[in-house]
Subunit: 320 residues, 4 copies
C-alpha cells in the first residue's frame, strides 16, 4: 500500500464519520445505537413473517481448531469435561452426571460485535473515550443492552446467488447496486429496523475446502474477504438498517494491500452505532429462502449477556 | 436420611422410569427426546402468541463470583480482556479495538441440560451407555440437536404469585395440584410441545439477599430448593410438555436429607428425554404477564451449539 | 484513613524511592534488578551450604478454592482433565494415558513478582513507562530473565520463632531490629546476593484455621497481614539482598486503614528492582532449620518462563 | 503397519514389563518409583558437582502457538492479562500494578510425566487401577510427590554431538551402544539415582526451522522422532537411573508405521516407575558441557505441585 492510499482511507473514514454519525441521535446516554430502531412494533412485524414455523440456526458449531487460522490472536472454542460418563461407569452408583467447561474468544465463532469493540480517534460510540474499556471490561457500550432485545425482522440478501456462484471471489467488494439488484430479484423490501443478512458464500467455501488458514486474521495479516464496501454505509444509514450480519469474518470487504483499516467497523460501529454480526452460517437459510421465495423471517439472535463484554456469542435462529 | 429412605427413592425412580419411558418412542436413533414435540406447526402457534412485540430476556448476566456457591465444583463465568481501549490509548493510532475471552462451566448460569447430562443405572436417554460421554465430550445426546430447534410456545406458571408470596419457602415441593390451580388462575392452557416455565421466586430471593452460598451445590452438599416434585413427572408426560425451566438451580425440589438423588433429572432427562432449563430469570417476565394477563409467548431459546456439549448456555428470550 | 495519612505515605514512598533507587546501577538496559547480585560465585557459595542433601519444597499445593478469598480478583488454580483413566477403562485397549490442563492467576499461589508487576507514578523499574505492559504482556521487565537464573543462597529468618509464637499477630509490622535480633539469635550472617526468607507464621495460621477469606485481597479490601515494614527497605538495600520472600500474601505489613498503598512493592520492585516472593510455605523449612541450627541453604527457585509474564509461578526448593 | 508388527510390539512390551517391573520394590504404598533412588546422599553428591556456579535453564519459553502442532489435542500456553500498565496509565493514580493468568496443558511444554500419566492393560504404577484417574484428577501416582524432591545429579549424554551432527535424523533410534559410547567419549560415569538427559538435537532443529507442525502429535498422527529405543530400558534399570529427560516430544524413538504404542512410556512409567521428562531444551547446556568437558551437574527440577496432576510443568535448572 502506498502512503497515499493510507491517507485517502483515513480521509474517507473521517468524511463518512461526519456524514453518518448517530452520536446524540438517541440521547447522550444511549448505548443501543441502531438497535433503537428495533421497536415493539417492529418485532410484531417480524413475528408476522413466520409462515411455516421452520427454524434454521445460523451458528457455527463450536469445536476445537476452527474457524480461527493457526496464528490468530483469538482462541478457538475449547470444550473440557469436568465429569464424564466414563467416571460414572467406574463408580458403580445408581445415578451419575456429566459436566463441562467452555473457553473461547467471544468473537471466535458466530457473534455480534458490541459497540465497545471498535475505536476511532480514541472514541467509541456516542463520543465515549476508549479508555472506558479496561482489563476489567467495558464500562459502557457493552453487549448487555444487545442481549436484552435482539429480535427483529431479518432479511437475507443472497449476493452469491444473485451472481449465480457458490461463493463470491475473495477480493469481491459488494456494492449498493448489487445489494439493490439482489433484493429486487428476491422481491423483498428492506425496512427500518431490519437486520440485513448478506450472503457471500465465503464461510461455506472455506468450510468445504477446510481452508481455515485463509479465513481469519493470522498474526498481523488480514485475510482477503468478499464483503460489503464502505460505500454501502450511507445506504445502510438511509434505510435505517438496525444490524448487518454476514457469512464472513469481518462483514466488510478486505482487499489486497489493506493498510489495516476497516471502514465499515470504524464508521459503522463507532459513528453509526450499527450492530455487526460475523461468522453467520447462511447457506441453509439461503437454500430455504430460494426454495419458497420468502426472504424475510423473525431473527431471534440474543447473545449471552456478559457483563462488560465487547462481543456477544450467539446462536441466531431464523424462524420463518 | 435413613437407609429406608434411600431405598424408597431408588424404587420410586425405577418405577417412574418404567412408567414414563420415551425410549424408542421416536426411533432408536433419536437424540431429541421431547423436543420432537416441537413441530413447525407448534412454532407457528408460538409466533401467533406475539401480541405486543415486547422482548424479555430470561438470562442471568454473566459475571464473576455468581451464581455458584464458593465451593461449587462449577466455574462461575470468567471474563478476560485480550485487547483494551487503554491499550489503544497508549498506541496513539487512528483506530483500535478490544477483544475478550469467556470461560465458564456450561451449566454455570442460565442453561439447558443436554440429554447426555444425566445417567441412570449406567444408561442415558434412549438406552445409550454412559460411557459414550468421555473426556472428549458426548458422542450422543449432546446439546447440538437442541441448538438447532429450541423455539416454541412458552407458558409461565407463576407458583409464587399463586401463593401470593415473593418466593416459595426453600423446602416447598411444588405439586401437580398447585400447577393446575396456578394455570387455572392464570386462564392459560398447557398444550403438547409447550415449554413450561415454573416460577418459584427462588432466584430473585437469593439475588436480593446476595445469598449465593445457599443457592447451588457447595462441595458435596446439595442446597435446599423449592421446585417441582417427582410426582409432577407423570403429569408432564401426560401433557407432552417439551421442556421445563425454572428460576432455581435444579428445576426440582431439593429437601432436607436428600440422599443425593434427583428424580426429575434421572427420570425426566434419562427416561423421558425431557429438556430441563435451569437458572432462568423469571421475575421480569412474571411482572409483565401479571400486568396484562397473557401468560403464553414465543420462547426463543436456542443454546450455543457446542460439539459434544452436555449443556447449553443460552440467553432465552420471551417475545410476547 | 485520613487525607493526612494518605499524603504522608505518598511522601514517604517518594522519599524512599529517591534514596534507594537502583535505576541505572546495572545499566540502562538492565531488566534483572537485584538479581544482578546473584553471581556465579554466589551460587558456588550457595552450593556449599548443602550439608545433608535434604530437600524441602516451599510451594503451596495447587488446588481449587485456595488460597484466594472468594471475592479476589485473582483466579485460584483450576485443574481440568482432558484424558482420564476412566476413559481408558471404557476403551479396553492395551494402553492408555491421562492428560490435564492448568489455569491460574500467575500470582495465585507461590510466585515471584516480575519487575513489571508494579508501577509508581507511571514508571516501572529502570525508568520504563508502565504502558510497556499491555494486554499482550510485558515488553520489558518480564519474568523471563528471573526464570533463567534464580538460584542463590537462601537465609531463613524466623521472626515468629524469635517471638516464640506460632504466628505473628495480623497487624504486626516486622522491623529492622527484629530481623537483626532474629538473625543474631539464629547465628547466621546475611550477605550480598542472598534471598531472605522471612517467616511470619501467617500462611500456616491461615491454613490451619482454613481462614482463607482473611488471607488475600477480597473485592477492593486489603487483608490485615504481618510482614516487613517500609523501614526495612534501606536495610535490605544496605545488605544488597537479592530477593525477599515471605509466608504471607504480600511480603509487606498491611495494617488497618491502609489507603491502598504498598511501599515495599512500590519502592522495592519499582525503584530498587528487588525480587519479591509471596505465599512461600516456610513452616517445614523452619522446623528443619530449628532442629539442626543451620539457617542457610541453596534456594533453587526458577519460575516458569512465561513470555511477557508479570509473575512467575514456582516451586521453590531449599536444598540443605 | 502389519498385524504382526502390532502383535510383536504388544508381546515385547509384556515381556519387558515382566522383566523390569519395580512394582512392590519400594512397598505397596509407594508412589515415587525410581525417585526413591534420589536419596539425601545423592543430592549431596549432586551439590558437589557445582564447580563454577553457572545456571542454565532447560525450559522452553511459554508462549502462544508453540510447541504443539496445530491439531494437537494439547493446549499451548495462553497468557492473558487481567490488569495492565495501559489500564494504570488511564487511571492517573500514584501507583498501579499488572496481573496475569496462565492456561496450558500441563504437558504442553517442558514437563515431567507423573506416574499416573500412562496405563498398561488397565493398570498404572505399583499395580493400581487406571480408574483411580478420573475427571477430578489422579487419586494416586500424581505429580505431588515428584514436586517435593526432584533435585539430583544430572548427567548429559550428547548423542547428537557423539555423531557430530546438529540433530539426529527423525527416524534415528538411540541404542545402548550409542549411549555407552557417548558417555565414554564424554568421560562421565552414570550412577544410581542420576537423571540422564539425552540430547538428540530434535528440539533445536525444529525451533530453528520453525517446523512445529512436525514436532508433536497432530490429530491422531504421531510424529517421527529420534529418541531412545525400548532396548535401552533394561540398561536404564540396570544402572538404576532415576529419571530420563530428552529434547524431544516423547523421550522415545517414534518411527514410521508406529502402531500407537510407546514402549518406553508403557514399560518405563507403568512398570518401572521411571520419571520421564519431555521438551527439555538441552542445546545451551550441551555447549557449556562441551566447552569445559564437565557433563554432570546439580539438576534442580521440581515441578509445580498440582493436586491430582498427571504431569508437572517445570523450569529445570542445571547448576554446574
Amino acid at each position: 500500500m502506498t502512503e497515499t492510499r493510507a491517507e485517502s482511507i483515513d480521509a474517507r473514514i473521517d468524511s463518512l464519520a461526519r456524514e453518518l454519525s448517530n452520536w446524540g441521535r438517541w440521547g447522550a446516554d444511549d448505548e443501543l445505537g441502531t438497535l433503537n430502531l428495533v421497536t415493539a412494533e417492529k418485532r410484531l412485524e417480524a413475528a408476522r413473517c413466520v409462515a411455516t414455523g421452520e427454524t434454521i440456526s445460523l451458528a457455527l458449531e463450536l469445536r476445537a481448531g476452527v474457524p480461527q487460522a493457526p496464528r490468530s490472536p483469538r482462541l478457538n472454542p475449547q470444550h473440557l469435561m469436568t465429569e464424564t460418563g466414563t467416571d460414572a461407569a467406574a463408580r458403580d452408583r445408581a445415578s451419575g452426571y456429566s459436566d463441562d467447561v467452555l473457553t473461547m474468544s467471544v468473537h471466535a465463532a458466530t457473534h455480534w460485535d458490541a459497540l465497545a469493540h471498535v475505536f476511532h480517534r480514541g472514541r467509541m460510540y456516542n463520543d465515549r473515550p476508549c479508555t472506558e474499556v479496561t482489563s476489567a471490561g467495558a464500562n459502557a457500550n457493552s453487549i448487555v443492552p444487545v442481549a436484552r432485545r435482539m429480535a427483529t425482522r431479518g432479511v437475507l440478501v443472497d449476493v452469491a446467488r444473485h451472481h449465480r456462484v457458490d461463493a463470491l471471489a475473495a477480493d469481491h467488494e459488494v456494492t449498493v447496486a448489487e445489494l439493490e439488484a439482489a433484493l429486487d430479484g428476491q422481491r423483498v423490501e428492506l425496512r427500518a429496523g431490519d437486520a440485513l443478512l448478506v450472503r457471500t458464500g465465503q464461510l461455506g467455501r472455506i468450510a468445504a475446502a477446510q481452508a481455515w488458514s485463509e479465513y481469519t486474521e493470522s498474526g498481523d495479516r488480514l485475510p482477503l474477504e468478499p464483503g460489503i464496501g464502505a460505500d454501502c454505509l450511507p445506504w445502510l444509514r438511509e434505510h435505517d438498517v438496525a444490524a448487518v450480519a454476514c457469512d464472513n469474518w469481518a462483514v466488510e470487504h478486505l482487499g489486497a494491500g489493506n493498510p489495516g483499516r476497516l471502514p465499515v467497523h470504524e464508521v459503522g460501529i463507532v459513528h453509526m452505532g450499527l450492530l455487526l454480526g460475523e461468522n453467520f452460517e447462511l447457506d441453509e437459510l439461503a437454500a430455504a429462502c430460494a426454495a419458497d421465495g420468502r426472504y424475510d423471517f423473525l431473527l431471534a439472535a440474543a447473545p449471552l449477556p456478559v457483563l462488560g463484554g465487547v462481543g456477544g456469542a450467539v446462536n441466531p435462529v431464523a424462524i420463518r
